[in-house]
């Protein structure tokens, strides 16, 4: 495949930006209020540590596929357990994404449409996108990156029009820290899965450029999330913003601009949905790669269908009881599971260090 220098940066941005921008901000305002910026900054800094661990593992693997290489660090069965958990996790993540998108879309635009219809459509789209393969996903991200970035900048510019800047001192004068720790955990659970970029091998290399790209992507994500969080807070205030489920959509629709800009929310949602589909298709690709390695298959296409179908059915299960689904998403047990998965590169680096394999350049064999 054709590679360029900042390709991984664009791909990582498209992958990481979608879900936090859309869904992380309201719960953050509910729990942390004016101090959410502390949680985002600390969580983002911890992400740098995870990226460094991922880079260390990628450097050691030196071009081998991660599914094959990981065995050399943790042993055959330890690595296989992790791959099995990753299969479950990727299907699970896709189903949560699908249900959140469907809930959002139905509540805003299609109230009478049954949930299963939208879920089936989204499932088929993810299935087809995943079947195109990893290279195509990277090319799609390449192409849509600049458009999505412009869209985000545009939205933020719209928000600055009606923002109430007199609220800014509250960011440092309000000293209510009791939720900051759990919010840091929550931020890591939303955008901490940097280990997933280990799966870019063998098609793409993992070198110093990749490290630079991932660090840049993390910085952009932290910056974009902080800015969006700040503008939501300044536009709606602490109390009202914690009541809204989709403040960004409300802001786009209720902007004082008229004409094309004021009615451009379907355009932004279309752009955002594109990056969500790329995100989910890559997750299915990761799940299928792990499953293919576990069962020693070469042809993976039928598994894409099976995993995408399972994710759709799971999302359908959630749609039967949306209140329980939303409550589950904020449970500490749920968030802890996510953080445990995101810590996978840390465990591998620790085990490699303890087994004395960290410094070794060549671990082929």
């Amino acid at each position: 495949m054709r590679t360029t220098s900042f390709q991984i940066f664009r791909f990582a941005c498209i992958y990481m930006l979608t879900m936090p921008l859309a869904f992380m901000i309201p719960p953050l305002i509910v729990t942390s209020g004016y101090l959410g910026w502390i949680a985002v900054l600390i969580g983002g800094t911890i992400n740098f540590g995870l990226i460094l661990c991922t880079y260390q593992l990628g450097k050691m693997a030196s071009g081998q596929a991660w599914t094959a290489f990981g065995e050399k660090i943790t042993g055959k069965w330890g690595h296989r357990v992790v791959l099995l958990i990753l299969v479950f996790w990727s299907v699970y993540y896709v189903s949560v994404d699908m249900e959140q998108f469907t809930m959002f879309y139905r509540s805003a635009y299609m109230r009478e449409t049954p949930a299963w219809f939208l879920l089936l459509l989204v499932g088929i789209v993810i299935l087809i996108t995943a079947r195109w393969g990893f290279a195509t996903l990277v090319y799609i991200a390449d192409g849509t990156f600049i458009v999505i970035l412009l869209g985000i900048i545009f939205i933020l510019v719209i928000f600055t029009g009606d923002a109430n800047y007199q609220m800014l001192p509250a960011l440092v004068t309000n000293h209510d820290f009791h939720n900051v720790f759990s919010d840091v955990i929550s931020v890591i659970s939303w955008n901490g899965e940097w280990f997933i970029f280990l799966f870019i091998m063998p098609q793409l290399k993992f070198d110093k450029n990749t490290l630079r790209n991932l660090i840049l992507a993390n910085s952009l994500v932290i910056f974009a999330v902080l800015l969006t969080w700040l503008l939501v807070l300044l536009n709606f205030g602490n109390h009202y913003a914690s009541q809204l489920k989709y403040p960004v959509l409300q802001l786009i629709r209720s902007t004082s601009f008229t004409g094309l800009i004021g009615n451009a929310d379907p355009l932004f949602i279309g752009l955002w949905a594109t990056s969500m589909i790329v995100h989910d298709a890559f997750l299915i690709y990761v799940g299928v790669t792990c499953l293919g390695h576990l069962l020693k298959f070469k042809e993976n296409k039928p598994f894409i269908t099976l995993l995408a179908g399972t994710a759709t059915v799971a999302a359908f299960q959630y749609s039967k009881n949306t209140t329980l689904f939303q409550k589950d998403l904020t449970e500490l047990g749920f968030i802890s599971f996510w953080v445990m998965i995101n810590g996978i590169p840390l465990y591998y680096v620790l085990i490699a260090f303890l087994r004395g394999r960290l410094g070794r350049k060549k671990l082929r064999g």
Partner: protein, 62 residues
């Protein structure tokens, strides 16, 4: 139903692949039957646990 339509498509794709070894065949059909049974139960039985429920059962004590 969602589960059946995806399952049929998966079978169709499996049949398109040539040169399957018998081990691969067995593994695929086992996985297919497992997932079909699980997904059909999830669609039809109201109390069947979703992955969310499984995670909360395992980690809800935190």
């Amino acid at each position: 139903m969602i589960a059946i339509s995806f399952a049929l498509f998966a079978v169709f794709e499996w049949r398109q692949i040539k040169n399957k070894s018998s081990n691969h065949n067995k593994a695929f059909w086992w996985l297919f039957s497992l997932l079909l049974a699980w997904n059909t139960a999830a669609n039809v039985i109201p109390w069947w646990p979703s992955p969310n429920r499984l995670i909360i059962y395992l980690f809800g004590w935190i």
